[in-house]
């Protein structure tokens, strides 16, 4: 009984030391909660034997757009031609650079964005996606 108690004390003491790497020439068995996540495998399927070669639908991975005034205007206008990942993928840019981008979409690419919506979009991008303001 006496031996048994010493055994437990020794294991506990050595555990504390080992957990701090004092006695080990290596660390092992150290796991943690998954961080960036996992990616599911997708089924690979060539489809039918007729003359149609169909790759299927392309997935949209909707980004986490910053909340704020003008977000609706982005969603209602910009997304006609491209997903908002075209915003979140860009480098952080000055308000002026974002304004130039929005104006390029309208003038060069013919995006049918009303003036008031365009101003709100410029304001939104300049409020959330500049070097000073971007959080995520």
């Amino acid at each position: 009984m006496q031996t048994r108690r010493w055994y437990l004390v020794a294991v506990a003491a050595l555990s504390i030391l080992a957990a701090r790497g004092l006695y080990a020439d290596f660390r092992a068995g150290d796991y943690t909660q998954g961080g960036p996540g996992t990616i599911r495998q997708v089924l690979r399927n060539a489809g039918t034997t007729d003359s149609t070669y169909d790759a299927g639908q392309y997935p949209i991975y909707y980004p986490d757009l910053a909340a704020g005034d003008g977000k609706d205007d982005v969603e209602n206008n910009c997304e006609l031609c491209h997903s908002p990942r075209y915003i979140t993928m860009q480098p952080v840019m000055s308000g002026q650079a974002w304004s130039d981008e929005v104006n390029k979409m309208i003038k060069t690419f013919g995006a049918p964005i009303p003036d008031d919506a365009a101003q709100k979009i410029i304001q939104y991008l300049g409020s959330h996606y500049t070097p000073e303001t971007r959080k995520r």
Partner: protein
């Protein structure tokens, strides 16, 4: 106690202790244990955006995502689709089809093609317009094969200072494949180019939702008929001996060896001979570089409007260290083999040199098999770091025309032509 020590080997003892300490930690007897070296844990997510400085990572930041016929690739955008190839795929000269990067311009990109209906139109200023079915394309002409690098004009755009808008690629908007198909010249000859023709224009199945006549409606690219690259061009229906993935341009795409990928029209549907120069947006306004040495300029000069531009063309020489990639600490005295790839759009790599001291001294690397002048070329160099430290390993290539990679970046508004010498920090630790 004595029985305990004798009964367990050291390894099993540590395992037991590890499990016991985990149990203790879970029971919060010890509180939250802070494991040594947690800052290098594989569970730390990479950032999803970088600040105004140059992107310091080899590829773009952002998540991996799955797409049809594709391995998980780095997601830049989802509509239209832009995906970047992770670094390790470049340990081979052949980039697998399912790992090959993806870049589309317009949202209406093909999901499916019915080959019963699909035709390649050869039209415009020709004697005999052709409408080629897929079997006609693959059997009527002589088939050729060429290994060639396809690199996005904006590859490495995220390195530029100041940053410019556009796809924020790291180095992975490139790939090398064996392209099999028909020489463009043979198809043009079959149609008979009329005299007075100046350019040949290419268009694919992708369409935009913008107004007619604008770049947001159609994507078209043209090459001068007098350009010698015309004779190198291939209308490829096979990529690495397989059909092209839909996202890489099924059923056929143009291959323009040595040229940036903007000309490599995907899902090719029209080859159009023009008797006047193409003035569509994608030629007149986009994919243009300053008509200066290396296409280099400044934001101030661009704004002043005095910088003349020309359409982008050949790819400058580049080289990359692929392995080791900096994620593994190397013991001092370890015999490493540095490995990577090099290429030049100007026709082949002559020499690759490696520096382990940030560019002060250079050693010539060995080159792998020559798969053709427009292919990736493997290079490798054995290197044994003697002492612990942080080594800045740099690699630079010289092409057969004598062009050497510079140690300066480039800046232009499009974010094109980046080919600065690459560096990778290799961390070497004490071995005893």
């Amino acid at each position: 106690m004595e029985d305990f020590q004798q009964g367990l080997t050291r390894r099993r003892w540590l395992k037991t202790v590890g499990a016991a300490s985990a149990a203790l930690a879970a029971g919060q007897i010890l509180g939250e244990p802070k494991a040594a070296g947690q800052e290098i844990s594989g569970q730390q997510p990479a950032p999803e955006f970088t600040g105004p400085g140059a992107n310091p990572y080899w590829t773009s930041v952002g998540q991996l995502a799955t797409y049809p016929q594709k391995a998980p690739l780095i997601l830049l955008t989802d509509r239209p689709v832009q995906l970047e190839t992770p670094r390790h795929y470049f340990l081979s000269t052949v980039t697998p089809n399912d790992a090959f990067y993806v870049r589309w311009h317009l949202p209406m990109i093909p999901n499916a093609v019915d080959l019963k209906e699909w035709r390649l139109h050869v039209e415009g200023n020709v004697e005999r317009p052709l409408t080629l079915s897929f079997p006609e394309l693959t059997t009527r002409f002589k088939t050729v094969s060429i290994a060639a690098v396809n690199q996005c004009s904006g590859n490495s755009r995220s390195r530029l200072q100041p940053r410019v808008p556009g796809g924020q690629w790291g180095n992975g908007a490139m790939g090398n494949a064996a392209w099999t198909g028909i020489k463009l010249r043979e198809i043009l000859d079959a149609a008979g180019v009329k005299s007075g023709s100046v350019q040949v224009q290419f268009e694919g199945l992708d369409r935009g939702l913008g107004p007619k006549g604008l770049g947001s409606n159609r994507f078209m690219k043209s090459l001068d008929l007098t350009n010698p690259v015309i004779d190198l061009c291939v209308v490829a229906f096979a990529m690495n001996d397989e059909p092209l993935p839909m996202l890489n341009g099924f059923p056929a795409r143009l291959v323009v060896p040595g040229y940036f990928a903007t000309y490599w029209m995907k899902s090719l549907s029209s080859i159009r001979v023009l008797d006047t120069p193409d003035d569509n947006f994608w030629m007149k306004a986009a994919y243009r570089i300053p008509d200066t040495p290396r296409g280099n300029t400044t934001p101030e000069d661009m704004k002043s409007g005095k910088v003349a531009t020309v359409p982008i063309a050949s790819m400058p020489v580049r080289s990359f260290l692929i392995s080791p990639d900096g994620s593994t600490k190397i013991p001092a005295g370890f015999p490493l083999r540095l490995r990577g790839i090099a290429f030049s759009g100007y026709g082949g790599v002559k020499k690759v040199e490696v520096s382990s001291d940030n560019g002060a001294n250079w050693t010539e690397a060995q080159l792998g098999t020559d798969a053709g002048m427009y292919s990736f070329r493997i290079w490798y160099l054995n290197w044994t770091p003697k002492a612990a430290g942080r080594y800045q390993v740099a690699v630079r290539a010289t092409d057969t025309k004598g062009n050497v990679q510079p140690d300066d970046g480039v800046w232009n508004a499009g974010g094109y032509l980046w080919n600065k010498i690459e560096r990778q920090e290799i961390v070497v630790g004490d071995a005893s």
